[in-house]
Amino acid sequence: MSETAVRADIASGRGAALSIHDVSHSFELEGRPLPVLQHVSLRVEPGEFVAILGPSGCGKSTLLRLAAGLDIPRAGFLSLDGQPINAPDASRILVFQDPTLYPWRTVWSNVALGLEARGLLRSHRGRVDDVLRLVGLAGFATAYPRQLSGGMSQRAALARALVNDPKLLILDEPLGQLDSLTRIAMQQELVSLWHRTGFTALLVTHDVEEAVFLASRVIVLSERPARVMVEVVNARPYPRHRGDPHLAELRRDIMGHLGLAGSW
């Protein structure tokens, strides 16, 4: 199958609109509620790439778990294309910071997981091969996760999400554990995957440069309990260049919002 055919097949579904409406959430800590999110509202348009930045432990990951339907908020609601989010669903897939591939499955079977879970594997076997080709792991279909490098593992985790043709891809610091060279390569791959497949992307990251390089909009959250502090629109067209002075400008801007202006 040629590159364009793969693309046409996977891009069959367009991204969906995510709407987070006045969401508050808290955890129990030693019997007392610990507020994590406070009145967070956010709308992500179909096919948009939104990055969320915020201080460590501010509740970014919690927000993503809510968007994936893994947890239910204490107050407020979330919806995808108007459908309320109250359980996990393969149309919105969370990619974790740790690739968490199943060590007992080959790369191919790991990627096939979602199709298998939904009983679609028999009719969609070809998709697994297509997606493996898309992320450049075609030659590693029969390898076990322990035989992969960190970057390859994370690409396999991306393939495991993409094979389900998600309308919303939720990325929880997916490149956080990679070395800086692999990270830069993977950022480029992520942009091109997003371009080719058309999903809506919601990314949490610690890396301001990564956020301005990837996202069309950057949301800055406050300290815990998190609320939306600033929204920075990044209208720079893709493909972007790291040396772009406009991106550097945005970066300085965002650093300032995070209270790190002095270090720049």
């Binding site: 669903d89 969370l94 968490t100 499955r105 997981l113 879970a117 999400a161 389900n164």
Partner: protein, 315 residues
């Protein structure tokens, strides 16, 4: 093993032991019928090793045979010494220390009874082990998965589990209709406890991230149990299966000695009653070979099922 002389020396040693066995006159007042056969067997082994060492000189011997060579040499020395101090010099008191040909005699002459014993033991062991392993696995998964099951089973397991299965023996022989069913129950109990506990702990230690991944991909409960929980817990389960197998051997032999009128354990008891020490040694040897073979089989199964793990212990 890069020392070709070891293979040749082992061959020579076996041939020497064969000659020693055949030609050195035995103690007066003994009448071993199988001395000639034993010598022939030693000579045959020596011949095979000699052939192997010639092959090795001319071409190259397969490494597995070369790896065995030092052991072959050691065994030749051991059997030579055994033969010398028993049949030839009579240094050790009879009937407690029979010579090797006496064991050969038992294995050949009493082969029917021994084979029946082996079959009876294997049948009893297999029944009890499979029932115990299957139940233990099911209960372990249920305990790890369901809080309610864990709540009710855990105290029972804590109280009853540490009790050695053999402590139930008098009660079991009284309560069950046959000694066979009683022994099956005891072996199942001895197997089931470690399998339950290890399966349970395996299920409990499955990383919650594995579940998050499957759930975000749309997996239902059934898929989570079958495709996430169980495969992730398998390494623990196998530890339980190994422990259970060891326990089941112990209970098997005791049950056969005390109640079941068949099997290798019973044969040992019977041989002791007749002071037939050669029969006891032969039965012990056969038992060791069978139990070791079963453990090897379980290791093979694990290596095959858990091929994805790295650095497994070799048996």
């Amino acid at each position: 093993m890069q020392r070709p002389w070891i293979l040749g020396t082992a061959a020579a040693a076996w041939l020497v032991v064969a000659l020693l066995t055949a030609l050195w006159p035995e103690q007066a007042a003994t009448d071993w019928e199988y001395t000639g056969h034993l010598a022939a067997a030693f000579a045959a082994l020596g011949g095979v090793l000699a052939l192997a060492s010639i092959t090795d000189l001319l071409f190259a011997c397969p490494p597995p045979i070369k790896r065995l060579a030092p052991w072959m040499l050691a065994l030749a020395l051991l059997l030579g010494a055994w033969e010398t101090v028993t049949a030839k010099l009579g240094l050790l008191p009879m009937p407690f220390f029979p010579p090797p040909q006496a064991l050969l005699e038992v294995v050949v002459d009493d082969r029917v009874r021994l084979a029946e014993g082996v079959l009876a033991s294997l049948r009893l062991l297999a029944g009890g082990y499979f029932v115990g392993a299957a139940l233990g696995f099911a209960v372990g998964v249920a305990m790890g998965w369901s809080r309610a099951v864990g709540y009710w089973i855990h105290p029972v397991l804590r109280l009853v589990g540490p009790l050695p299965a053999t402590a139930w023996l008098p009660l079991a022989f009284f309560a069950f209709p046959s000694s066979h069913s009683a022994s099956t129950f005891l072996i199942a109990l001895a197997t089931g406890f470690p399998v339950t506990v290890l399966t349970w702990s395996g299920v409990a230690s499955v990383s919650s991230a594995y579940y998050d991944v499957a759930r975000t991909l749309g997996a239902n409960q059934r898929f989570l149990i079958l495709k996430v929980t169980i495969p992730a817990a398998m390494p623990h389960v196998f530890v339980g299966l190994f422990m259970g197998l060891g326990n089941s051997f112990a209970v098997l032999v005791i049950a056969e000695m005390l109640g079941v009128k068949a099997g290798l354990g019973w044969y040992l008891q019977w041989a002791q009653g007749w002071a037939a020490y050669a029969n006891m040694y032969a039965a012990l040897l056969i038992m060791a070979l069978i139990f070791s073979g079963l453990i090897t089989l379980l290791f093979r199964l694990r290596d095959w099922l858990l091929a994805w793990q790295k650095g497994l212990v070799r048996w």
